[in-house]
């Protein structure tokens, strides 16, 4: 197995002077090249866990390492510039064009404009957006799916090894969501990324991720491949995994198969 690229060891985080426990003694490893989905309901601490990795939030206790270094010893600004981050609703800057948004991190890193321009075109190809019509558009002129593709392109711009994604496809319609999920899975493989994706949708997690970590009330309940998890004797984990299966069976019964297959 590849060495872990991100490790959490006994990490804790509270808000409101200790009244709200967001992350409670979590230990977790993400290996190089792995696609990990973190699943949990709202308030389970999954988003906090993600943000601790690039120090958008600082941990109260425990240790987090990224590429072997304790994140506390790394300048948070530089740390963020080398980790791709995709925000829930895109988080695009409304006053910058698609090209301006995608090129922002290289620009912050001091890359030359001509080089950035080439990189933007590459990235547009990568996320399957036509260069000419989209380059100079403003975010409000794009559909939700297109915006999220730009969000992914922006996160990839500085060639990060790690991608952190906060419910990236949550707000999209099912078809777009499916297409985007598949496309990203392909990118993950092609670029050799290490991806941590937050989602509340178990089905999405099962379909996209190599491994799933399940969080509830700030604690890590279980982690493993879907088949490993299905053997868990935790009631919540069991319930969580039964739902997609039950839905799949009902869908199978309700939707008659078309064609000859």
């Amino acid at each position: 197995m590849s060495p872990p690229l991100i490790t959490y060891s006994h990490v804790g985080k509270t808000f409101d002077a200790g009244r709200v426990v967001a992350v409670d003694d979590v230990s977790l490893e993400v290996c190089e090249g792995e696609f990990l989905a973190v699943v949990g309901g709202s308030g389970s601490g999954k988003t906090t866990l993600l943000r601790l990795a690039n120090r958008l939030i600082e941990a109260d206790s425990g240790t987090i390492t990224v590429e072997g270094e304790d994140v506390r010893n790394v300048d948070p600004i530089l740390l963020r510039r080398r980790i791709g981050y995709v925000f829930q609703s895109g988080g695009l800057f409304p006053h910058l064009t698609v090209a301006g948004n995608i090129g922002i991190t290289p620009k912050l890193l001091g890359t030359r404009p001509a080089e950035i321009s080439v990189r933007v075109d590459e990235l547009l190809d990568l996320v399957r957006l036509d260069r000419t019509p989209y380059r100079d558009r403003l975010p409000h002129e794009l559909s939700g799916g297109q915006r999220q593709r730009v969000g992914v392109a922006r996160a990839l711009a500085a060639r990060p090894r790690i991608m952190l994604m906060d419910e990236p496809f949550g707000a999209l319609d099912p078809l777009t969501r499916d297409a985007l999920g598949d496309d990203f899975r392909e990118l993950h493989k092609k670029l050799g990324l290490t991806t941590v994706m937050i989602t509340h949708d178990v089905t999405e997690a099962i379909l996209l991720a190599d491994r799933i970590a399940i969080m509830c009330d700030g604690r890590l309940l279980a982690q493993g491949t879907p088949s490993e998890l299905s053997k868990s004797d935790d009631a919540y984990v069991g319930e969580l995994l039964r739902t997609p299966r039950r839905q799949a069976e009902r869908l199978g019964a309700l939707l008659p198969r078309e064609g000859t297959a």
Partner: protein, 519 residues
């Protein structure tokens, strides 16, 4: 058509390059200074609730201070600072005109800019701020590449409000010696020249509207990310500033500055003195509509060269004397006191413009009132009106003390309106001026002062310290000394109170010269 055939339109238009240029200069300087202070303050305060509350509170309080008072307050403040700077660093500066006006107006401009900048910055979506952090921006990069550009439309709206306020309030900088479009309004109000009043108001409004529309164009361009509109607006503003300032740069420097207070007689006398200087081949400009306290300090500080004051006013207000002396003695003693400040009392003009209690002749006769002593017993059922400063002047305290005066009520009025008010019975008595032509016009009578509570008010000519030995100036002004009798001045003032072309200060001054100069 006949309305515009009035020569005063032409006269008003002639002043426009000077007044408008100065108005734009002081407004732009104040706005720029206001922005330079407000923007960094707003940025620093946006994440600090206590500082933010304090700043906005302070700026709001400044807004509640009437513009005229705020401007007037800066004059003594700067005067003290200038004196301090002179004694500490050996460098003095003029506390007159431009500087106090710019500082007061800049302070006035701060509230909308502060409030809108803070509101605009706070209105930036938290998710966007997080994204800025997430892509690896430093707080500074986030501020300049994300927060400020997104807050700019709201900030521009604040800058627009503040520009309109400053341009409007700048008309009030006339009394502290800064020439502005307010010169039309102050002069017009005092000399009943409605053409001037209207001209000044319209000019200030047009200027404010033009600037507001150009800034709106910039704001609109920023909001819709249209570089064309933003550039067009900026070019428009730049063109306006250059066009209004350019004529001022090529204007010849004038040698002498004549001061004038804010009433008709002063406008006529300053016009008369300007004409005399011109006749003597000396260049002069008038700084009119100056506040009573500002004008003396301005003379003492060499900011103006000469003006006409009244002996009793200086005696009581400047030197805080409560004793009363006969006319000649008082002037002589004043001369010595002024000389200690290096101010030259060149001489008396010949007439007195004293405060006097005035009432309708018929009513006075009916009630058998001839002196203030006669009035005292009936005052309890009467009301009195005076100008804006009378009731806080020492003369009023002296009058009440000497005669035990106690009126039913007292009101403050614009001097030009109080004669009509007493004539129509609106008030029973007014504190008028003995040289005012309206006394005769409305058939009013001045009441005697047998206990000499009111000091004499000889019109006297004062020269600034730097003009003490200016023979050319003394020679040009000499023909006016001791020549103007009270009856002549009254008639001149009556003429100036008309509202036709013949009543402009210049026309009246010419008439006056014909009366007194030929002697």
């Amino acid at each position: 058509m006949s309305t515009f055939a009035d020569p005063r339109w032409g006269e008003a238009l002639g002043h426009l390059p000077d007044y408008l240029g100065n108005h734009v200069r002081v407004s732009v300087a104040a706005l720029v200074l206001g922005l330079l202070v407000s923007l960094p303050l707003a940025i620093i305060a946006r994440h600090r609730p206590v500082l933010r509350g304090g700043l906005l509170g302070l700026a709001s309080i400044v807004q509640t201070v009437p513009g005229l008072a705020l401007l007037a307050l800066f004059y003594p403040l700067l005067l003290a600072l200038a004196a301090l700077s002179l004694s500490w660093f050996g460098v003095g500066f003029s506390a007159f005109g431009f500087l106090p006006a710019v500082l007061a107006l800049a302070l006035y401009s701060m509230l909308p800019v502060l409030r809108n900048t803070i509101t605009g910055l706070q209105g930036v979506d938290a998710a966007i701020l997080e994204a800025a952090q997430g892509v690896g921006m430093t707080p500074r990069q986030s501020l300049f590449t994300v927060e400020l550009p997104l807050a700019l439309p709201v900030m521009m709206a604040g800058i627009r409000t503040s520009a309109v306020w400053v341009i409007g309030t700048a008309t009030l900088s006339t009394p502290i010696g800064q020439t502005s479009l307010g010169n039309y309004i102050f002069a017009g109000l005092q000399t009943q020249n409605w053409v001037f009043v209207l001209f000044g108001c319209v000019a200030a409004a047009v200027l404010a509207l033009a600037v507001d529309q150009l800034l709106a164009l910039i704001e609109n361009g920023l909001r819709n990310r249209s570089r064309f509109r933003a550039t067009l607006g900026s070019v428009g503003i730049a063109a306006l500033v250059v066009a209004t300032l350019a004529p001022n740069l090529v204007r010849p420097q004038t040698n002498y500055i004549i001061g004038a207070k804010t009433f008709a007689e002063q406008y006529v006398l300053s016009a008369l003195m300007a004409q005399r200087l011109k006749a003597a081949g000396l260049l002069a400009t008038k700084r009119e509509g100056l506040g009573s306290n500002v004008i003396f300090e301005a003379l003492a500080a060499d900011d103006i060269d000469f003006y006409i004051d009244y002996s009793g006013t200086l005696w009581a207000n400047q030197f805080h004397r409560t004793d009363i002396k006969p006319r000649q003695e008082l002037v002589a003693e004043l001369k010595t006191m002024l000389a200690r400040q290096n101010i030259t009392l060149l001489g008396e003009l010949g007439f007195e413009n004293a405060y006097a209690l005035v009432m309708p002749r018929k009513r006075a006769e009916q009630l058998g009132i001839r002196t203030i002593a006669d009035l005292a017993s009936r005052a309890a059922n009467m009301s009195i009106a005076g100008d804006y400063e009378f009731f806080s002047r020492p003369e009023w305290a002296a009058l009440r003390r000497a005669y035990g005066l106690s009126f039913r009520g007292q009101r403050q009025m614009q001097p030009d309106f109080m004669y009509a008010a007493v004539a129509s019975g609106e008030v029973d008595v007014i504190a008028g001026y003995t040289s005012d032509g309206l006394i005769a016009k409305y058939d009013l009578v001045t009441l005697g002062d047998p206990r000499h509570a009111i000091p004499p008010y000889d019109a006297i000519m004062l020269l600034a310290p730097k003009r003490a030995n200016d023979e050319a100036l003394r020679k040009a002004l000499a023909p006016l000394l001791g020549r103007i009798e009270i009856a002549t001045m009254r008639e001149a003032n009556l003429r100036a109170s008309g509202n036709d072309a013949a009543s402009s200060p210049d026309a009246v001054a010419q008439w006056l010269w014909e009366k007194v100069g030929k002697k």
